[in-house]
Amino acid sequence: MIEIKNLTKIYTASGQKIVALDKVSLTVNKGEIFGIIGLSGAGKSTLVRCINMLEKPTAGSIMVNGQEITALKKDELRAVRQKIGMIFQHFNLLSSRTVFDNIMFPLEIAKVPRKDAVRRTRELLELVGLADKADVYPAQLSGGQKQRVGIARALANNPKLLLSDEATSALDPQTTRSILQLIRDINRQFNLTVLLITHDMNVIKEVCDRVAVIDDSRIVEVGDVMSVFTAPASPTARSFVNSVLNREVPTELLHRSSAVNGQVHTRLVRVAFIGSSAGEPIISSLIRKFNVDANILYGNIDRIKDTPFGNLTLELIGQPRALQEALAYLQNRGLEIEVLNDV
């Protein structure tokens, strides 16, 4: 759906060159919800704006639906933009227009005949659950309702792609969840490809299929949300994952385990359970099969999109050989294992 190659954006401000994007390459598949996460200033806002050319790239190529969009003429670009919906952090609704007329605006731009435009607008109001707010002005709506109007407006011309620029960042957690739910629904219902940017790992966790981590103008990690959550490879990804999952082991615990390090050996192990394996009684079989003791230090269960996902931090105590066998056993069961205090 989107294929970005070596995208570079350099701003020149008062003689100084600022690199906002540095040779970014990325592929977004049709029908998926793809998240880009990064801290503010990392370049994610610039990246999403390059895809509909609100920002002109300095170099590189962007293909949307097989069409190179960096080389389009003005009128061609306008036609392409009509088929790419976009929603914004601050909604950007016209205060001079009612909800109904705001949603109809892109249809006016696309010169849809008025009768069809009115019918389509009614449809969209139903879709986002705001049929009773048609004649109200944006100022009278809550943040969540405003974003629903924004989503309806973005979908007006039946786009194949939806760009979301921090669409939930100005909303409270509960409203965020309901907006994300709506994004998931429209993604499924219309097989709509969604590219969203956020600084909130919860957003990635709740709706995204794949995620790219951007740091200092570069993509540092791309992968399935599940694999990034269970085994983040880059320090940036790790700190984002830690922001929503409590994975850090208190340092006293790490010290304690090494302090008792006499005859018996201890290992701190983090085990990630994904999907069906979350139901297996692995600890009791571990203790029965090998001569080790297990001490549960921390555990939680969460959900990444639709898949249950558990996290367990264990202290295993036993002879080195037994510990090794026990770890091998866990690995063979297809569990993600991470040894925290490597000896």
């Binding site: 609100l54 306008r78 976009m86 001079s96 006016e108």
Partner: protein
Amino acid sequence: MSDGWLLGRLLVATWETIYMVATSTFFSYLFGLPLGVILVVTARGHIMENSVVNRVLGWIINATRSIPFIIFLILIIPITRLLVGTYIGTVASIVPLTLAAIPFVARLVETSLKEIDWGLIEAALSMGANSWTIITKVLLPEAKPSLLLGVAITTISLVGYSAMAGIVGGGGLGTLAYYYGYQRYENTIMWATVIVLIIIVQGVQLLGEKLAQKASKNRG
């Protein structure tokens, strides 16, 4: 001089002032509004960025605005003559009033349009809107309350300028106050014109605020 004469003279002069001010407000917006729009959209980073147009226009506007009106009035007498055949009288003063107000209006419009959140323009661009659509369906409607207040400010300024034009034979309340009130020491006439001017200015301001309020109703 009877009271009836005074009242009649005052009514005629009031009508002349209203006529001059209304007509020149209309014409100054006819030209000043597009110029203000051009100033905004040709600015750096805006939808029709054009630094040459922007700079030249800005320079002309500043130059015209720096000439005091009373001098401007005399300076453009040839133009006034060319356009209306004379440089004395109510119709003739509409020319300098309009020409002086155009750059003023352009700057007021520019200020109003610059207040609009760039996000709204970005949203319209993302929908594939062209520049004309953005100007007519985003910039102007969104700035309507502020533009209406600008019209009130312009009208009030023109009431003041029209009195100045009156001194050089422009007609209206200015002429009345100058010839009868000042040169003939008719204090009644002086005060009567002042009171009428105050009423006009208050009325215009009130009307402007009411209209702006109505336009921004529901906007929060």
